[in-house]
């Protein structure tokens, strides 16, 4: 039988903080991307990655800020969805199979994903570099939502 013991990972207060800051990050992302194109999604992702870089450098990547706020502000599925939306006009109608569909999507959508990944990485490294000494390289547990 599957176990469900969420409080074994974090205290109730930490879960509330993750939810609250996740909501804050998400609504900020919504505000940035609501009226913008895929560049707005890039902006939200770059902002979130840069902030996380700063937090990591300063040892402040707590579950609330790292997992909640930065995780809520950035999105992976949003990029994939944006790529689909941008490409679907001509790709969907012309595709006859799932493989054909994926191949028609790949150039434009792959470029969007790569741009998000590369700029996000640059923003993270810049935030980390500009905000303090380099971290030890070990990933902070709290940054990933893993109980310390």
């Amino acid at each position: 039988m599957a176990r469900f013991r969420p409080l074994s990972h974090h205290s109730l207060g930490v879960w509330v903080a993750i939810a609250s800051f996740g909501a804050l990050g998400s609504v900020l992302r919504y505000a940035i991307t609501a009226d913008g194109g895929w560049g707005a999604v890039v902006l939200a992702n770059v902002l979130g990655c840069g902030v996380l870089g700063v937090l990591v450098a300063r040892g402040r990547a707590t579950p609330a800020l790292g997992v909640g706020f930065c995780g809520g502000l950035t999105t992976f599925s949003g990029v994939a969805a944006q790529a689909l939306t941008a490409a679907q006009g001509d790709a969907i109608g012309a595709a006859s199979t799932a493989g054909d569909f994926a191949l028609r999507l790949a150039p434009g959508a792959g470029l969007m994903l790569a741009v998000n990944g590369i700029l996000g990485l640059v923003a993270f490294l810049a935030g980390r570099h500009l905000s303090g000494p380099r971290s030890s390289g070990r990933l902070p547990d709290a940054e990933l939502g893993v109980a310390p």
Binding site: H9, H10, W15, I18, A19, F21, A23, L24, G25, S26, R29, Y30, A31, T33, A34, G48, C49, V51, L52, V56, A61, G66, V67, G68, C70, G71, G72, L73, T74, T75, F76, S77, G78, V79, A80, A81, A83, L84, T85, I92, A98, F101, A102, L105, A106, G110, L113, N116, G117, G120, L121, F124, S136, G137, L139, E143, L144, G145, V146, A147
Partner: protein, 122 residues
């Protein structure tokens, strides 16, 4: 942009962030040593669902709740990037970049598959 849609995206985002934290904590508790792989799995799963949600012709309110909020909060670029940028010996950096490229392609393929399946069923 409406206030109700913003509130729905906040609600979904809070739930999505908690779901991600829970999945990653469960993965760690289950002995998964490469948490960055778990983050990638979360992102691919969220992308499949996002593709499906896009194809499902949802109302704007449901899109704000599910696509922007829940799935946007469930998936993350920042944790994935920080995992990618974690200090590695030089011989592992090329492998990390290949994993990253594979993660991006898997996310794209997942979203396309989710979209395709729901479109075909509809």
């Amino acid at each position: 942009m409406t206030v109700s849609a913003a509130l729905l995206s906040a609600l979904g985002g809070g739930l999505g962030a908690c779901a991600r934290a829970f999945v990653l904590a469960e993965a760690e508790a289950a002995g998964v040593r490469r948490i960055d792989r778990a983050v990638a799995a979360v992102n691919v799963a969220g992308s499949i669902a996002a593709g499906a949600a896009l194809a499902a012709d949802l109302s704007p309110a449901l899109l704000a709740l599910i696509l922007t909020g829940l799935l946007g909060g469930f998936t993350t670029l920042s944790s994935w990037i920080s995992a990618l940028a974690a200090g590695r010996p030089p011989e592992e950096r090329t492998r990390a970049l290949l994993w990253a490229a594979g993660d991006l392609l898997a996310g794209l393929a997942g979203a396309a598959a989710g979209y395709w399946v729901v479109s075909a069923l509809g």
